[in-house]
Symmetry: C2
């Protein structure tokens, strides 16, 4: 028996000099922080959207080591203003049109703040029952709004989980699918497993496939083309699968996308899942961005066929007013996930788990620890209501439609791919620059984009499709209204004027 | 060319009925939320520490579907008070002694709040330079405080990254190690890779190994024993590795722990990394909980030998006043990570990345999107200062020492394993219950724990070591002081009185 020898007196506890969670200090500083953020939102349109700092700027103005003694909260906030904000790219700016939006909202922010305040670690039901149960409820709520088939809801034998990002959702479902095949065929066939996607699928899929041990040679990135709007088509998929089967390989997983990153293309879920069904392939639908639009009846048809897939995910932090990070993942067969991802260490054993009457979300995700993400989604749904959320999405789509009209009206520009949601992909057209070579036209558009972003007045990003460099204008920042879109278009025109002069 | 046909007039934008990021509404509701949380901290000791609800409690009191129309913020907050708080296990309660702490603080909370407010998506340098650069700086700061070898710091050619949890850190380093071996020996040897740990290693390791495609049969969970304080010893490790080599297997990865979950055992990093060095094994040190203590000179010797390992991680959200989630991971060879985890999609290409003068953290982690976690760690370090942080840790250790004395003074109890940090593992001793069988003694301790936790006055958890069920009393909640520890011990004694009467 190893025991520390007791001494006769207690050790004095004079070494605790502070209470780092003093409620009144929290209240005082918390109010300062709220005011700081409210002022930030008031000012945000004045900052350069894309940060204009150079690499290494911060090291020059921050001490080389942590302070030994405390610094006042006000000093730190001042440093945030003077040193951090210049290095921030303002994703909440109304003039942010790059990538896809990271749509914050008061409700999302305050829900997140509450989750941070509780600071619970909800790995299983027992560790904080409300965290698990509210998550069960809100993922069913969102599933209902999307009119996902009952089979994806807890009420129908499936279920959902809030993960951080789509990357996690894909790794989890890939592992679930992989372990089904490995238990069927044996561990040694891991090198024969094949994953299918299109050349438009998010890079997360390839990375996830590598992470879970799929041979990079067995990732089929099937070519799409402008002729079919960059959709993955059943023919080429079927051909790829047949070829692999002929070669003795084992089809594992197919990732479809509703709203690809480059151009928001939508893979035909119904047709493709029909193909996959013949081969016992796990089909995942990544609707990270455009899934949110599918809460509107007019977009719901993009989900046709989803009843045939295994899993479906959507990032509520992209276009659903919920702050980063919040990826909703639904699966039809939760046991496929839990078989692959369960752990049962002694120190977490408890009656509730053993009763099988609760869900332990640690077995639905990669990580053990998890934050109480359901709060922010619950706050968003209740604070705005489904009707407003639909109209909010529609507002962005209408702004994008208007932008598209502006593009078309200026003969120097062209819309490169059809707009489906709130992303407009455009470029200076070859005819405007005297039919130069493709690479020359690309170079002009590259310069145009860099010149606009360098001005700090707007931030847009780019993609290249079939060799064509195009500027991506993604409407979706929460503060954006049509006035910002109109001004942004004027910025485009002014910079084009200078460049094409 | 697919173009949406322009119509002559713009679509009206009357469908945007709200501004979900109105600064003044944010200010008003934000202040309410701060007051709500400050009041929560004032009241927190009055709530049952472990939630006392039954499975399914929430479904009965929450509507079956999301509301169509907005609900007032005040109504939602009232529901948090009446419906959510009863289902929360109060990790911030001063009477929370279960698992390991989730130590919040004003600075950590407000840093997180600021990060939520900016709501940037810092996948690469360009997407928000400050997020990357501040992270570079603070991980070096923490590395310096720990006196990690220069080789783990950016200033010395290594570097650190803030991940969500240790689980992620382990998956990332495992993939890095795996891909080194696969590129050396070929993809087909994946089934021959072997991972080493002890039977005390966190379950995250086994789960991670399975996720990255290591054959579960090739996870060596080497037995430890009470005789050697549940440390992994070099002899058994060497034996396991030699056996595997003889069997044609390929040693891949060794996970050592500083502060195991069951009893805070510390593996001898120096001796074990010497063994691993002979076999080109990637050595990771998981110091999730006890790493924080190593900022104090008196605990720093536990890191001896860390200069020989490949990677080291610590959860700042456990015992470093930084809210969940915040795992610091340092590696000596960042290119091992980036080779395994890099993606380079066209839509993220930018000059800064191409200049090789910046870090793109997306290539150091599983996920693409990432929050601005460095802010909260920076706030904590500056708001409290290194001296106070050390003293704060020491305060918890002293409380645990005092508790240990209380245990020893009551002859009915025994300390089961030596206390090293702020966790005391104790039980009702066999002698106190008439030398019953081991299982009977376990049952009494199980009942004691359940009876205490059921009272709501304290929350502790348990572990089983060599068949001995012990109660884990982890000091570390931010609000805990010696008075709470003394009262908690009285709760133990009262419940033991009732049980042993």
């Amino acid at each position: 028996m190893h025991l520390t020898k007791p001494t006769s007196t207690f050790i004095s506890l004079t070494t605790i000099p502070m209470n780092p969670l003093n409620p009144e200090e929290f209240r005082k500083q918390g109010h300062l922080m709220i005011d700081f953020l409210a002022d930030y939102y008031h000012q945000i349109h004045k900052y350069p959207v894309r940060s204009q700092v150079l690499p290494g700027y911060l090291q020059k103005i921050i001490p080389e080591s942590a302070p030994c003694s405390p610094e006042p909260f006000e000093t730190i906030l001042q440093d945030v203003q003077n040193k951090i904000i210049p290095g921030i790219t303002h994703w909440q700016s109304p003039n942010f049109f790059a990538y896809f939006p990271s749509s914050g909202s008061t409700a999302g922010l305050l829900g997140e703040m509450l989750s941070t305040g509780f600071n619970i670690v909800g790995f299983n039901w027992m560790s904080s029952p409300a965290a698990t149960e509210l998550e069960n409820i809100v993922v069913d709520w969102v599933g209902q709004i999307l009119r996902l088939p009952e089979s994806f809801l807890f009420s129908g034998g499936g279920g959902g989980v809030l993960q951080g990002t789509t990357c996690e959702a894909i790794i989890c479902t890939l592992v679930a699918a992989r372990d089904q095949k490995l238990s069927q065929y044996g561990m040694e066939i891991i090198g024969s497993l094949v994953v299918y996607c299109s050349d438009q699928t998010h890079s997360a899929l390839k990375k996830a496939a590598k992470i879970v041990g799929v041979n990079p040679k067995n990732i089929r990135s099937i070519k799409t083309s402008k002729a079919s709007d960059f959709q993955l088509l059943p023919g080429p998929l079927n051909h790829a699968i047949s070829t692999d089967l002929r070669d003795g390989l084992i089809p594992l997983y197919l990732c479809l996308t509703i709203g690809t990153t480059s151009s928001t293309a939508v893979d035909p879920v119904g047709l493709l899942s029909e193909v996959a069904k013949n081969y016992e392939i796990w089909v995942h639908v990544d609707a990270a961005y455009a899934g949110s639009a599918c809460i509107c009846p007019e977009f719901q048809h993009f989900l046709d066929g989803v009843e045939n897939v295994n899993s479906f995910s959507l990032n509520a932090h992209k276009w659903f007013l919920t702050t980063l990070d919040c990826c909703c993942l639904w699966v039809k067969d939760p046991t496929a996930l839990t078989k692959a991802l369960s752990t049962n260490p002694e120190y977490l054993k408890n009656h509730a788990t053993e009763s099988n009457r609760v869900i332990d979300y640690k077995d639905w995700q990669l990580m053990l620890s998890r934050r109480f993400r359901a709060l922010k989604l619950w706050f968003v749904l209740r604070s705005y209501g489904v009707d407003n959320l639909r109209n909010f999405i529609r507002g962005h789509v209408e702004m994008a439609k208007n932008l598209e009209r502006l593009v078309v009206m200026d003969k120097r520009f062209e819309v490169v791919v059809p707009r489906l949601f709130s992303l407009v992909c455009f470029r200076v057209s070859p005819s405007a620059v005297g039919q130069k070579s493709g690479e020359d036209v690309n170079e002009i558009n590259r310069k145009l984009l860099e010149s606009m972003n360098g001005s700090g007045r707007v931030y847009m990003s780019h993609a290249v499709l079939e060799g064509v460099f195009m500027i991506r204008f993604a409407v979706g920042a929460t503060l954006t209204n049509m006035r910002h879109v109109s001004v942004a278009w004027k910025v485009v025109q002014e910079h084009a004027d200078a460049l094409l002069r």
